[in-house]
Symmetry: C2
Amino acid sequence: MNTPAFPSAFAPLQNDSFIRACLRQATDHTPVWLMRQAGRYLPEYRATRAKAGSFMGLATNTDYATEVTLQPVDRYPLDAAILFSDILTVPDAMGLGLTFALGEGPKFASAVRDEAAVAKLAVPDMGTLRYVFDAVTSIRKALQGRVPLIGFSGSPWTLACYMVEGAGSDDYRLVKTMLYSRPDLMHKILQINADAVALYLNTQIEAGAQAVMIFDSWGGVLADGAFQEFSLAYTSRVLAQLKKEHDGVRIPSIVFTKGGGLWLKEMGQLDCNVLGLDWTVNLAKARAFVGEHKALQGNIDPNVLFANPAQIEAEVVKTLNTFGTPHTGAGTGPTHIFNLGHGISQHTPPDHVASLVQAVHDHSRAMRA
Amino acid sequence: MNTPAFPSAFAPLQNDSFIRACLRQATDHTPVWLMRQAGRYLPEYRATRAKAGSFMGLATNTDYATEVTLQPVDRYPLDAAILFSDILTVPDAMGLGLTFALGEGPKFASAVRDEAAVAKLAVPDMGTLRYVFDAVTSIRKALQGRVPLIGFSGSPWTLACYMVEGAGSDDYRLVKTMLYSRPDLMHKILQINADAVALYLNTQIEAGAQAVMIFDSWGGVLADGAFQEFSLAYTSRVLAQLKKEHDGVRIPSIVFTKGGGLWLKEMGQLDCNVLGLDWTVNLAKARAFVGEHKALQGNIDPNVLFANPAQIEAEVVKTLNTFGTPHTGAGTGPTHIFNLGHGISQHTPPDHVASLVQAVHDHSRAMRA
């Protein structure tokens, strides 16, 4: 596609706590949203999914994608919505043929495992991803300014894992074999991925995304040294190309490396606003370590949601207290966005999510009093 | 069993580099062994396994267990042997019914998921594990003092993961549900496991093990706070009960928490001799951080072994150099035991292991020159 025609007028944002916290500005409570909040644990999601017939049927249909994105926001007083989509849309648009077999994870028809396959890769035409941008615009309209909409992408390295493995993996043997034996090919893939991800996120921003998140889901499987060279450097290449504002409004960016706690110092130097943390990281130590550079997002273990509401509340309080009192008043300072340290489990009782959200709001207000 | 009758006279140890490095004493090269070095990547292992009929048929037969333990030591100039066994022998001896279905992981017939199941648990009679101790003695004899023999066990937490899940898991939902909703039950399991593991390792030492290793394979899936309470505290309880010497000879202990790099400071306080590290940890930083308390073992990504020999050698040199020159001369100081950061893959070309071992020996000798 050439010049995209996206609307520029949307309803004004009512609850801006998430955006303010991303920008390290004070809020009257700690904003909360949950990774994979539009998902299988919700009966209304399962109903829409049944109508759509398949996961990609859901993700590629503007109405369905809008419907499921809004479901958790309608059910719980969450402080942000996140686009319903998949992290593998970009390699699919590169022609690798993404499918989701029932009960299994994603699969690519054409894995990228040799020089010839790498030579064929290119930044895809954003026209092939029009369904994503249409969903962004539709969701943004449907939200009517209630909460901000987060757009997202997989990181260059995480996309490369799936592109080379052809599916999920538990040992990353194929992608790491390429990394160690043909680093030149791996760098070539990662350059293309980084430029594609940057264009993809910028187009989501033009379509209406009010913040963007890069999911480096598999950064944590890399060795020290390899992480910096093959994951972090390309996340950085994405960030360098990202729009920092749109229509005069700042667009915060979030980077989440699952299992990346050991590299917080390096990640603190990234040109993004927020670092996402998993549950292995101590928030007080991370706050001290990252310093005045970034807001922090995370990081409760999603399995806490299988305990009873009183125990969930106790864990929420512990997590909020570990971060400590956030910035209040004018200017900027340390801020915390409450989230899980990984996507919510499909087995989660929906009522328990209500307990968690309420505990975050109640206790975080009390902490500021 | 009551008083075990184990032999106390074995051939004198010829290559003591591994034991010396565990005790932070100088060696003329960096000792190397590989987690899961007796395994499916070796054609001779596959031949013995075929004769044995099943994994447990292999592990419970003294002759077969001895044969496969010695295979990698016969093929490569490794500096230690490790008992061929499984980490789940202890819960099996508790009556949970361990089986290995073909092509799948381990399974327990009776998972431990409620108060009644926990109430039935007890430290097993070591007589039911006689096959392990017999294998230890047999292997020790067969080694004829060439290299030391390492005994091992799963950590209390790692055993509990399998006992509650009933099998491997990718989300640890059941065990974490118990942890967060019934911490009292989880602590009860862990106490029993810790006392069982200590007795199990001490009996391996009496049977002839010259060092012992605790595999906390799943410690890294815990949240900060939960790790200290549910994994580290019970590893510590094991260590407090361990024999520090046998027949007047020191018996070093190694603790390896996969994914535990963020907790190195706390692990540095454990009463053990060596900390095992996975590939996400920078050895120079770990050396500085842990200080003068422990030897370090690790930590190359096993996927490096899929690169070609020249590239394997380059990665070995990088790993050795990252640790830096070890202690030389009298007394004690920083020492490094070369290993992988995880078990070797069944797909590894055996010749590549030869390249790795030679590169470790050659470069580590050159570093000391």
